[in-house]
Amino acid sequence: MRRVSSAELLSALVLLLPLLAVPWAFKPYTANVLAVYMIYGLLAMSLGLIWGGAGIMSFGQTAFFGIGAYAYGAIGLNLINRTQQTHTALLGGLAAAALLAAIVGYFMFYGRISDVYASIITMALTLVLFAFAVSTGGDEWVIGVARLGGFNGMFGQGESSQNIANFQIPPVTLWLPGMTEPFAFKINRESAAGYYLVLGVSVAVYVLTRALVRSRLGRVAVAIRENEPRVASLGYDTRFYKFALFTIAGAIAGLAGMLFAAWGRFVNPDRFGLAFAASTVVYVQLGGRASLLGGFVGAAIIGHLTSYLAEVVPFATIPPDAGPWITFLMEAGRRIVREAPLLVQGAVLVGVVLVLKDGVTPPLFRVLARHRRWGWWLLLPAVLVYFGHRVACQQADLCVF
């Protein structure tokens, strides 16, 4: 067990090194895309924490993500022009997500609702929030200067004299004591600060969550997953442990939601939607819920695959000298991918789960733990070669992503 988990930690380090260099080696677009994968990964990690950790499959983990995003947006839009920073918005978004998770968790676990119903209740929660967010299109749905905006998503409206001016949710902006001017974490041609913020937060939350999993709370949660009556008969109030872990996972999802709102400077009801909720579950299942890295890996695989299929394959040219069969297959493949990338995504999930029911990371870590000698000498160059290839083809403008 211990060796497997040290393999996980070292893998995280191996992945971190190239990620630190991304803004330097790639176009800002790549950093931007990777940042959103990490944000989804953080959300998936929070689901992995509660699902893998305590066996509670929170289908609607996106509810907390969305609440975090909306709360950050609403507070940020109202305060950014007055205070030039988003400290209150960050705290408010985190508190809103944690509070919602605590309330829902309290009724679920102290009401002794079985874990199967926990999935249904959280899914219902996110769908109720979706329905609510969609219905906020009217002029009356305004918090200060922030319009909830229904399907169109949240934006700020100018003060009475400048009605035309709409403005976006602010990026994470800090103005701490000792700083001469506020600093905004943006991702654009000039700045990769927003990317490093997402990376830094992801690493910090990963490290803290890892410590949490190894604390008494995490150990007891895993024991509850295995056999709840057994754990209760050892003296542990299992309701409290589930409640506490669920609330923490909700807060992490909310944090991811805030980063998302600050990253895209936008949030709309889709974050509460069924498709997003389901793909979060897919990330965790594909990456593996036994380790906290699984969510990040799953999000990166699906995200990469989706953008590759949507952007590269439809434009691939069929060689003129290709035979009729090759032409037919390529044409068919292009059409399938163009029309239904989600179909391909689903097929990949089913395929992986059929072969590796625990997802892709656990077998990888087991192999690395067993063959420590050559495992690293294989993984490290593989990661470097992959990134090197990406850099090379991007510099030569050969690949889109």
Binding site: M1, R216, R219, V220, V222, A223, R225, E226, N227, P229, R230, V231, A232, S233, L234, G235, Y236, D237, T238
Partner: protein
Amino acid sequence: MPEPILEVSGLTKQFGGLRAVHLDLTIDAGELRCLIGPNGAGKSTFFRILSGGMRPDAGTVRFRGRDITGWDAFRVARLGMSIKFQVPSVLEELSVFENLHVAAEFRFGNRGGRRRAAEMLEVIGLTERADHPATWLSHGEKQWLEVGMASVGEPTLVLLDEPTAGMTVEEVKKTVRLLRRLNETATVIVVEHDMNFIRMIARRVTVMHQGEVFAEGSMEEIERNEGVRDIYLGKGAHYAVRR
């Protein structure tokens, strides 16, 4: 005069028209009490009520002088009662050591729990399997592990539901040693079917039948009791209980 540690009076559990449990029972501190009876006598149901897994329809349970009727399982456990369930219920995916550590951590904290868990590994003889997931253990080893989990927190009363089910003769002997050791510090109630095992450990035996206390006494008295033979072997069977 030893103090009663557990007093059960008028305890009743009804499943539809079937009265599964209806009994009065007193256990003194330091006892090693055997609870026997044919299948369906209500032994396991009785244990589940005692340990907080099930609420009774009527009656009271007093444990260490406090009325614990209808308490949640974790509160009963905190008062010093632990249980080994009938079906081995260890934490399958966790290692043997982690199983004991979780059990010990509640009372002794992380470090103290580690030390106690390591000691308990020695006692139950699973030191070499400490890092194996519990799911790799044989049936008998799982039973020992669960006995270890039930006793590592230094409880005052331990309920053991069929601790030797499915064990070989050698394994049963080891379990007997384990029980004797456990009984030095805790009161123990054992539910068992295996008469040889009962003979090896028993001081006082209670026979349950159709949810009620049918007979109580030493093993010799119980074995001489014709009524007990009748409920085990059917009325009219006058040959001796299998030795």
